[in-house]
């Protein structure tokens, strides 16, 4: 049992944390790519801006460093890391009594560092170390969540936020490279494909499974269906289903619209997806379906736990 408002804040805290980590990593890959030939850099930058849904940052006339600086530190851009972290912290402050001090201090430290007046200069002088530090701080935050918070209801809402956000971010990344958002020009450059794997933090795990044989089909197979890789959509969906099942109260049957049922259906859809069919028709329609299902699960969570109507809950 916890306050509905608290569950809501924990859920959004998870979403914003995941978003901040993802955008930091995209910036990192883009900047690293810009050290090589300019063609790769432009492609990587396009992929990145396509994959960051909310951003208003334009590419024209900007260097990779400028774009990365804006993605990290632009307070006016809704897709930037600084905005995500500020929102994550605002949510954490709302539920300060529900999270451990260890968890709070990790996030607060990161927030204070990235909002400090010195941040822009630090980024300017050493962009890649800056990005690495932000990403490791977010790992430390997740570690503190895992090792100091009770794995009860509140933790599950936080994890739901993280995994739903992750599933949708990976869907978007794949869509930009291979789906409808690619506009009929799927990614076929070898270096660009490696960078895509890096953006999903998947390069090393991929190489272990498929060796250095890098192919769009295999990349999609891995990022969609791997049951072991924590950033695959299949993996994220399985966790979402697991957390929702644990949260569901047996007394309250919501029928087929219950969030755990929706998650179960998505999980099954991914398990039985036809790889050959996808290869011939492209990943677009499956990605769109996954995205829609995630949005529906999000709404169902609200309906069941946060924004429910009072009528059914009042005594007698």
């Amino acid at each position: 049992m916890m306050l509905a408002r608290v569950a809501d804040s924990l859920y959004w805290m998870g979403r914003y944390i995941e978003r901040a980590e993802h955008v930091s990593r995209l910036s990192d890959v883009m900047l690293t790519a810009s050290l090589d030939t300019s063609g790769d850099a432009l492609l990587a930058a396009r992929t990145v801006l396509g994959a960051v849904g909310e951003t208003q940052i334009a590419l024209e006339g900007k260097s990779a460093v400028d774009v990365a600086a804006a993605l990290m530190l632009d307070r006016d851009d809704p897709g930037s890391v600084i905005v995500s972290l500020a929102r994550a912290r605002e949510n954490a402050r709302q539920v300060r009594d529900q999270i451990t001090s260890e968890t709070w201090e990790r996030l607060n430290l990161l927030f204070l560092r990235i909002t400090s007046p010195k941040a822009a200069k630090q980024f300017d002088q050493a962009s890649l170390p800056f990005l690495h530090e932000v990403i490791s701080d977010l790992f430390l935050f997740k570690g503190a969540v895992d090792t100091t918070m009770s794995h009860g209801e509140g933790w599950r809402f936080l994890m739901l936020g993280i995994y739903l956000e992750r599933a949708q971010l990976i869907v978007r990344l794949l869509d930009v490279c291979f789906g409808e958002a690619a506009g009929g020009e799927p990614l076929n450059d070898h270096l660009a494909q490696m960078n895509l794997l890096r953006m999903a933090c998947a390069l090393e795990p991929y190489l272990r499974v498929y060796t250095a044989d890098i192919q769009p089909k295999l990349i999609q197979e891995f990022l969609l269906f791997s049951e072991e890789f924590p950033r695959s959509i299949q993996f994220a969906t399985a966790r979402i289903e697991e957390h929702l099942k644990a949260l569901a109260s047996p007394g309250l049957d919501q029928g087929s619209s219950a969030p755990e049922r929706l998650a179960g259906r998505l999980s099954a859809r991914l398990r039985f997806a036809d790889l050959e069919e996808m290869a011939s028709q492209g990943a677009g329609s499956l990605l769109a379906t996954v995205n829609q299902d995630c949005a529906r699960i999000h709404e169902a969570i609200y309906g069941a736990y946060v924004d429910y109507s009072l009528e059914h809950h009042l005594p007698g």
Binding site: L3, R93, E153, F157, L247
Partner: protein, 498 residues
Amino acid sequence: MGDTQDQDSLFPLSAAYPIDRAYDEMYDRGHGVRDHYGPLQSRISTLGAGELADRQRTLEQSFLLQGITFTVYGAGASTEQIIPTDLFPRIIPAAEWARIEAGLTQRLQALNLFLADIYGDQTILKDGVVPRDLVLGAPSYRREMQGLFVPHKAYANVCGSDLIRNEVGEFVVLEDNLRVPSGVSYMLANRDAAKRTFPGTYRSSGVRSVERYPDTLLATLKSLASDWRSNPQVVVLTPGVYNSAYYEHAYLARLMGAPLVEGRDLVVHDNLVYMRTTTGLKRVDVIYRRVDDDFIDPLTFRRDSSLGVAGLFNAYRAGNVVIANAPGTGVADDKAVYAYVPAIIRYYLGQDAILNNVETYLCREPDQLDHVLGNLDKLVVKAVGASGGYGMLVGPHASLQERAEFAQQLKADPANYIAQPTIQLSTAPCLIDGAIEPRHVDLRPFILCGEKIVVTPGALTRVALKRGSLVVNSSQGGGSKDTWVLSDPRAQAQESPA
């Protein structure tokens, strides 16, 4: 190593540490160190200016990291700031504390009896001890509370009185805070920090522990409903994250293990109060509210309030929920009623007040008003309804024009003002820009009252950080420091095994 003095030692202090009219907590008039400050003083004197500055920085960093901040509302923007915290604890010996404890207990006992009386038979008004119009006309008097049942007749459950030490070293009461006093989280955070800053001195001094406060608070709150609910559900009601004391609300909720709720989380149905949880509605029995009377229920009090819960007061009236502190307690800490507290104590308890009041002039009385107007340059004048250092004139520090303007306000609405002589609050050593200097301090102890009264052996010491300033409020540039109440050496000897 500990005995060698650093090159940059700040001692001896006497030249840099003027002792003026005010009583100093550490030094007597001849710059001799008072006994109870001995261990701390000798520890500090082994540390150089650089080392002390480092410790101060570490302390501030840790407050910032923990988010021990309050919100300052400026023009347009609001920012989070840490309350400036000084690293040297203020120390109170056992015998002095025993008197404070007895005095505060007596005072709260009498004030709760007074509240029960004025919201009951009003005998004290009938006997003419306190003027009827003064009480019934006070804005903090709540007619809605008349005749209601209040568990244990404990109206004020959480109290944070403001004490000051005057020029001759006597502790006197400046204000009784019976509404929603804050600052207890700073007391606990300061203690945490002091233990890390001076661990050895802390250990050897026999400092009494304040760490039981959250569980004593929870026990007090539960005792208010335990007669009719076996395991009462306690919640902390906060105005929300934008309130300047939000950190404290979250801190207490976390340490009590009670949900921190906002008005929008609560629902009243059939005069029962519920909170919206992920598994439906759950009954609430005790509300520790950190929201002012005016805002707790828009149906009963202020209609424009969005912080409260519609129908909450009816549920309270029906006896289905406890609100702590009870609505309407403010009438007993009204600045005009304050002048009558010694008479109130005598009336209900037949005792003389253990802790004295500060001499107070009621401007509602014509002869006292004349005296105040004639001595504005020597007096502090306060608006009866205001708090936090707002709406007040510090005569000796005000310009001729400020005093003239204030005199006009005074004459226009004399009943709204009281005046007190400017008292040189005692001073305590503080680290200011790398040097040790005296700063004026007050003392806010915390008293809990459910079935019984418990005075926490510790306090928040507030510090006026500007040189010479007497205003300690955090909204007006004040800071704070830890307060060490020492245990009685005889009691210690008895406790230790033979």
